[in-house]
């Protein structure tokens, strides 16, 4: 919303030394956000009033003429001009060299220079209205028409050559741009008078009263007003005015409308807009002759009714729409827009002036449904007090009389069935003080509240307050609201800082959250994986790749895209997404995510009353991408093995998941990950069909997913210290040839315990190829021997080696490989 500083000053005397910047800052701090301060004078820099003395033809161009123009008293220069309406004696808008203009009203502003135009030097430019942003104020009626300022002198405005244009036109104003969002809860500020009142309160200066009128009585023979739905329309003032004859709006009013960005239409329409920008109360005028049956009915639309509005379009109405009807049909969509048929025209002599109060939600619904957010509906949907409807009548009548002296009010019907009771609030001084955190005096609080329009009386330890009508539409209703009023007028930045009272509390120890951070740190810092974030929703091809039916997931009503309507019940789809994205740029990488997922088959453990939320367990998932299936898989397995101790849980145990492996896992690759005997997740290699569905080609992907919630529920493991061996340990390496079918886990099991001296058996390497027969593999391993009783000698270790080889021979048919 825009506010004109000059307009505000009509209502309030601001402190004389205040700059527009300071004003904007103070409004921002105490009331609503000022987004920008626009000094119009700067925009018109270099623009002056010029007076054309003589005109002569341009020697080389038919369309151009040479105007000898006074740019200051006694300083005449030549200006080349193509204006079709150029006449001697004319006052013009002259852009001096250095001024900014838009050529033909288009493009970026250009800086004027002294130039030769077809051989004749031109000192600046005589401007058309669209070249200096004044098309609203001086609408061109023909092509190549320049601004003619001469008529202004007949309106009592003094013009002289060399006067800065902004000053001459009264445009040396400052426009404050208010952020509309911050005005949502302050319907009283949607006009200049409301903001002037706010400024009067902030600076403690005087607010001038609005004009008030004695209204003529209702004449039911001329107009009857009936409100059929008093819930939706609490007040309707219908005024019949005769003798409208003037069409031209006074320049000062057109100027203000121009500053509001509002085009001038004709006096009656301009007056309604002016009243709205002044008071924030939208009003409307009907052509009396087109109101059938001499009556206005405020009612709900009937099904099948329609209305052609002022925008020229036809709208079908529903019974939830509130309309203004005459004796026959709808004539306006209440609070949103007038009908085309009943609108005022050039011939209109007699009018019905409407000033009414409508209930906000209904207005908003109709405006939203029909896509008609007008200046009017924007204001009504915030909630305007009924008292303002009357102020609007008084202001409209006063201005109309001033501009069109022949007008006469014939009838005024103020239909106001249930005037609301005054809203009162009780508040104690101490209540305000304890929240603000400092001592206040009763007199100070009273003064500040009264400046905002509250009626204040002292009652007991505090105040009895009558809330002003313009703040009683939902904005102010409880004692806390009064605290806000007092505090913001003191200025939040002026409040003393009060640190919260110090009290010793127990240390905050929350292992259920610590484990998340430990997981993230372990995987990133220790394992070198990159943490990613995927959206809660995911495209369905990634779900299908993970073997998840999107129809069995939690789904969104209006998803970001049709394909991404399901929420992830597992992080595997998200990992596939990340793998697919990054496989374009990297050959090998590892990613992980810790997040909640959404499981509609179970219920969230702590729901509110009658709430049934889907379960939202916390998971960690990781994907290792690389070239070889085996290396990728073993890397993922290694990460899982490291992670559990990394988050202080006991070592991972793996069990083959042959019965119900994850759908995405390649055959035989799935392992169940267990910790302290409990299943915590799964690990596997992405199968080829699954990779294809995810759009992943030519790389191996190993995946693992573990439940953070389960891990958090398991006992934290602090491993006990093991005494160092007293005697040196001995280790030696063996290479044996096994059948392909033999698995390391089985070999390892038979090695441990085959001799009491064996304390460790480590896998070193696997080899196939030359010297190893087909269908066989060579495995190198390292055995570690230790004896508590003494040093192991070479005979002992040779004996162990022999018995190990014998055991592997008999169990698996292994052969010692010749080294």
């Amino acid at each position: 919303m825009k506010l004109s500083l000059q307009w505000l000053k009509e209502y309030v005397d601001l402190p004389s030394q205040i700059t527009p910047q300071k004003l904007a800052y103070d409004i921002t701090m105490s009331t609503v956000e000022v987004e920008a301060v626009h000094q119009l004078k700067e925009e018109f820099a270099g623009m002056v009033v010029g007076q054309v003395l003589e005109i002569s033809p341009h020697p080389k161009a038919d369309r151009l003429r040479i105007a000898k123009t006074l740019i200051a008293p006694g300083d005449a220069r030549t200006v080349v001009c193509g204006g079709s309406n150029l006449t001697p004696g004319m006052f013009v808008a002259l852009g001096l060299p250095g001024a900014l203009v838009r050529w033909h009203g288009e493009g970026e502003p250009v800086k004027l220079e002294i130039t030769k135009i077809r051989g004749v030097e031109s000192f600046g430019m005589i401007c058309a209205s669209n070249e200096v942003g004044l098309a609203d104020l001086f609408p061109a009626t023909a092509e190549s028409e320049i601004i003619d300022l001469t008529p202004l002198t007949k309106m009592g405005m003094e013009l002289a050559p060399g006067m800065p244009l902004a000053e001459a036109l009264g445009l040396d104003d400052v426009i404050l741009h208010i952020d509309n969002k911050s005005l949502t809860n302050r319907p009283d500020l949607w006009g200049h008078y409301g903001m002037a009142r706010e400024l009067a309160a902030i600076y403690g200066c005087t607010l001038r009263p609005l004009p008030s009128q004695q209204l003529v009585a209702e004449n039911v023979d001329l107009l009857r007003v009936a409100i059929e739905d008093p819930q939706r329309c609490s007040r309707y003032i219908g005024t019949v005015i005769d003798g409208c004859s003037v069409r031209e709006t006074p320049f000062w009013m057109r100027r203000r409308l121009h500053l509001m960005g509002q085009r001038s239409i004709n006096l009656l329409v301009d007056l309604t807009n002016y009243v709205m920008f002044a008071l924030g109360q939208p009003v409307h005028v009907f052509d009396y002759e087109r109101v059938a049956g001499k009556q206005i009915v405020v009612r709900r639309a009937k099904r099948g009714e329609y209305l052609q509005l002022l925008d020229g379009k036809k709208y079908d109405l529903l019974d939830q729409d509130l309309i203004i009807a005459d004796g026959k049909a709808p004539v306006a969509l209440a609070g949103v827009m007038g009908g085309e048929v009943s609108g005022v025209a050039a011939t209109t002599r007699r009018i019905v002036f409407e000033s009414a109060s409508f209930e906000p939600i209904g207005i908003r619904r109709s405006a939203t449904r029909l896509g008609l957010r007008s200046e009017s509906s924007m204001r009504f949907e915030k909630g305007i007090d009924a008292a303002r409807a009357r102020l609007a009548v008084d202001l409209f009548l006063k201005l109309l009389k001033e501009s069109d002296a022949g007008t006469k009010v014939l009838s005024c019907c103020d239909c106001f069935p249930n005037p609301p009771k005054a809203l009162t609030v009780e508040v104690e001084l101490e209540f305000i003080e304890s929240r603000i955190g400092q001592k206040l005096t009763e007199a100070d609080v009273q003064r500040r509240l009264e400046s905002l329009g509250f009626q204040v009386s002292r009652a007991g330890k505090g105040f009895h307050l009558v809330v002003p009508t313009w703040r009683a539409t939902g904005d102010v209703s409880i004692a806390e609201d009064i605290v806000e009023e007092v505090a913001r007028l003191i200025g939040y930045d002026n409040l003393q800082f009060v640190p919260p009272p110090v009290q010793l509390t127990q240390a905050v120890i929350q292992p259920q959250f610590a484990i998340v951070q430990q997981t993230r740190e372990h995987l990133s810092a220790r394992e070198g994986l990159n943490e990613v974030l995927t959206y809660p929703w995911i495209e369905e091809n990634f779900l299908q790749a993970a073997g998840i039916d999107p129809e069995k997931c939690v789904q969104l009503q209006s998803p970001p895209s049709h394909a991404a309507r399901a929420l992830q019940p597992s992080l595997i789809p998200g990992m596939l997404f990340a793998a697919e994205r990054n496989a374009r740029y990297f050959k090998s990488f590892g990613v992980f995510q810790v997040s909640r997922v959404f499981d509609p088959s179970a219920v969230y453990p702590v729901c509110g009353k009658s709430e049934k939320l889907p379960a939202q367990p916390r998971l960690v998932a990781l994907a290792i991408v690389g070239e070889s299936d085996r290396d990728t898989y073993l890397r993922a397995k290694g990460v899982v093995e490291g992670l559990l101790p990394g988050v202080k849980r006991s070592a991972a145990e793996f069990r083959a998941l042959d019965v119900a492996p994850p759908a995405w896992a390649a055959k035989g690759s799935a392992l169940e990950v267990c910790c302290s005997g409990k299943s915590v997740g799964a690990l596997g290699l992405l199968s080829l069909p699954a990779a294809q569905k995810a759009g992943i080609a030519d790389v191996a992907v190993a995946l693992a997913e573990l439940s953070i919630d389960t891990l958090a529920s398991l006992p934290a493991q602090i491993s006990n210290y093991k005494a160092l061996p007293q005697y040196p340990m001995v280790d030696f390496e063996l290479s044996l040839i096994f059948d392909e079918k033999v698995r390391w886990a089985d070999i390892a099991r038979s090695l441990i315990g085959c001799d009491p001296l064996v304390v460790g058996a480590a896998f070193l390497d696997e080899y196939r190829g030359e010297q190893v027969p087909a269908g066989k593999k060579s495995i190198s391993l390292r055995l570690t021997l230790s004896d508590q009783k003494g040093t192991i000698n070479s005979e002992q270790s040779a004996k162990v080696a022999n018995s190990v080889v014998e055991r592997l021979k008999s169990s698996y048919g292994a052969e010692l490989r010749a080294s």
Partner: protein, 345 residues
């Protein structure tokens, strides 16, 4: 026999003198003094020499042992000095080798930084559900029915809740604040806690707008919490993030769940408040809303607003992350793109 000693001495002396590397010297030393070294063998042979020659032979061998030992030591120190003089023999400008290129997500890292700062002030962490209900997202937060703010959030409602209301109408949460009501309902005041997390709104996306993003909220509830002391929360957050004191201001703002409502601005760090393109020439950046819980919110949480006071703050983490690292497109944060994420290793 003495010839053997002499012969070995001559050979060994020459070999030591010619030795040009420490490795070769070590090999030479082993070939002389090792278990089967030539000098060791001579020493072992002393006991087998005829008694009359034993003395002379023994003295000869032992003298040689002394001599060669000294020669080896001398040559070793000469070679060490030479090597020290020569310096390293590889290209030190080659890049260092590091195995680890892991990274935490910048938003979550900042979230954790904040958690630690608040933990040091005695704040608990709390996590509400990401799928919540209208009852907690709006009803209990003093959003009047039909209030435009309910729609301005562009909530992602869940399928199957089309005709439902309140606790039965479920959505991805459009903000975190509802979780504070869950906490109030299940904990005994006074308390102070943070409840960070992901929220989602159905907006169209561009460099500055994203559908899923992170917020950070804190609430303090006690018998007396003058709202100027809410500054402590604000300052804690900003100092944690920017690592230095940041000038802030509190001004009027409207949010249904607080009364009074504040907008909290931070002085622009790029221009120190002088006005630049980042702060749109204002010198201040809007950082977060805050304020004491509205009495209706306290009531929804089962607390008596006549007894309890409080202060909320709510901050959008993504924007702060973007400011901290100069990121110009918010969509990168959910892109999973390692070319982006590895920059935070």
């Amino acid at each position: 026999m003495l010839d053997k000693v002499k012969h070995l001495g001559d050979e060994a002396r020459a070999a030591i003198a010619q030795c040009r590397s420490l490795d070769a010297l070590r090999t030479l030393e082993t070939s002389l003094f090792g278990r089967k070294g030539s000098l060791t063998l001579l020493l072992k042979a002393i006991k087998d020499v005829a008694p009359q020659d034993k003395k002379a032979f023994g003295q000869g061998v032992n003298a040689l042992k002394e001599e060669l030992g000294a020669a080896l030591a001398q040559q070793k120190s000469a070679l060490l000095a030479l090597k020290a003089e020569q310096g390293v023999d590889f290209d030190v400008t080659l890049p260092g080798s590091s195995a680890c290129k892991g990274s935490q997500h910048p938003t979550l890292r900042m979230m954790n930084d904040l958690n630690e700062s608040f933990a040091s002030l005695g704040f608990e962490i709390y996590e509400g559900p990401e799928i919540s209900s209208e009852a907690y997202c709006f009803d209990s937060l003093n959003f009047p029915a039909d209030h435009p703010a309910r729609e301005s959030m562009d909530t992602f409602w869940l399928r199957g809740c089309e005709d439902k209301k309140g606790a039965e109408r479920l959505s991805l949460r459009p903000h975190l604040t509802g979780a504070s009501v869950r906490y109030m309902q299940t904990h005994k005041p006074p308390f102070r806690f943070v409840y960070p997390g992901r929220v989602a709104r159905n907006e169209s996306t561009d460099a500055g707008h994203e559908r899923a993003f992170f917020q950070y909220e804190a609430l303090i509830v006690d018998r007396q919490v003058p709202f100027s002391s809410g500054r402590l929360l604000v300052d804690t957050i900003l100092e944690t993030i920017f690592g230095r004191k940041v000038k802030t201001r509190m001004r009027a703002g409207f949010f249904p769940f607080v009364e009074p409502g504040f907008e909290i601005d931070m002085q622009c760090l790029v221009c120190d408040g002088k006005g630049c393109s980042v702060c749109k020439r204002v010198g201040w950046l809007e950082m977060m809303p805050g304020g004491p819980p509205h009495p209706n919110v306290f009531r929804a949480g089962g607390l008596d607003p006549a007894i309890w006071q409080g202060f909320y703050i709510n901050i959008g983490l993504d924007r702060l992350v973007m400011m901290r690292y100069g990121i110009d497109d918010i969509r990168l944060l959910h892109s999973t793109d390692l070319r982006f994420l590895r920059q935070f290793a």
